[in-house]
């Protein structure tokens, strides 16, 4: 009995192995793409020609599913192409920026920087001596002296 059982199991296992091998062979056969585009994974095939005889509702649904999946796969492929081209342009842009940054750094290295401290000081802290509030507290004679000192005729 034991031997009989074992032999039955062995036969079933062998049948299963054959079935799985057949499926693998089918997958390999399907992975050959007639359009020259290779995918990783399974290629979904769909009949583009009208069926000779009318198929059942269940079969229709399966075919539609296949069509949809095929469209998705081709969509993914298109997206990959577009993504690759965009990535290329981004990479070239990055390279440009890197080059210009290096150029700028080189220029900075060769540039002497001098600061006009008195000019900066004048901009940041305007002369308080000449603020209207301060001037209004001075005598008219003092204001005359200041004014005359600022006119170009006084410099000549």
């Amino acid at each position: 009995m034991q031997i009989g059982k074992l032999s039955l199991h062995t036969a079933k296992a062998a049948q299963r192995t054959t079935a799985s091998n057949n499926a693998a062979a089918n997958t390999n056969k399907l992975s050959t793409n007639p359009f020259g585009v290779s995918f990783k994974g399974n290629v979904l095939q769909a009949d583009v020609f009208e069926a000779a005889k009318k198929s059942s509702i269940g079969q229709n649904i399966t075919e539609r599913g296949k069509l949809f999946a095929s469209a998705v796969v081709s969509g993914i492929n298109n997206f990959n192409e577009a993504f690759k081209s965009r990535m290329n342009s981004i990479v070239s842009f990055g390279k440009k920026i890197t080059t210009s940054v290096f150029d700028t750094i080189e220029k900075i290295g060769n540039t002497e920087i001098s600061l006009d401290m008195s000019g900066i000081k004048n901009k940041l802290f305007p002369d308080k001596q000449y603020s209207v509030k301060n001037l209004a507290n001075k005598s008219v004679d003092e204001l005359r002296t200041l004014w005359e000192g600022l006119t170009p005729a006084a410099a000549v």
Binding site: N122, P126, D127, Y130, S131, V132, L135, A136, K138, S139, V140, D141, L143, R144, L146, W147, E148, L150, T151
Partner: protein, 122 residues
């Protein structure tokens, strides 16, 4: 600070100065005779803002100053300042006297025009 900015501040300070008569004299002497249009314009405005007989006399009667300035910019700025005065009594009085008695025809004509403007604006 630029020299012009400093002078602008001095003019503004003179406009607000407590010693009004001395300030008017200085503005008349240095400001109204300045070769710079901007300085003359600011001086005329400061004198008009003071709104006293002496300060208004300078800009209304003197030939080549205030409303009689050769620069249209200075003359127009002076007229605008006159029109924006709250109390125009003293200015109108001086203009009336100028129209009646001034020896220069140009000055009389200008005074007449400004007087008419002031009548319409008040």
């Amino acid at each position: 600070m630029e020299n012009n900015k400093k002078i602008r501040n001095i003019i503004q300070a003179l406009g607000e100065h407590k010693d009004a008569q001395a300030a008017i004299d200085l503005l008349t002497e240095l400001g109204t005779n300045s070769p710079d249009d901007e300085i003359r314009e600011l001086t005329a405005q400061a004198l008009i803002k003071k709104n006293t007989h002496d300060s208004l006399k300078v800009v209304l009667i003197s030939k080549g100053k205030g409303i009689n300035d050769l620069s249209a910019r200075v003359a127009m700025a002076s007229i605008n300042e006159l029109l924006s005065l709250k109390d125009k009594t003293e200015a109108i009085k001086i203009l009336d006297d100028t129209i009646k008695m001034h020896s220069e025809e140009d000055v009389r004509n200008t005074a007449r025009s400004v007087r008419a403007l002031m009548t319409f604006s008040s």
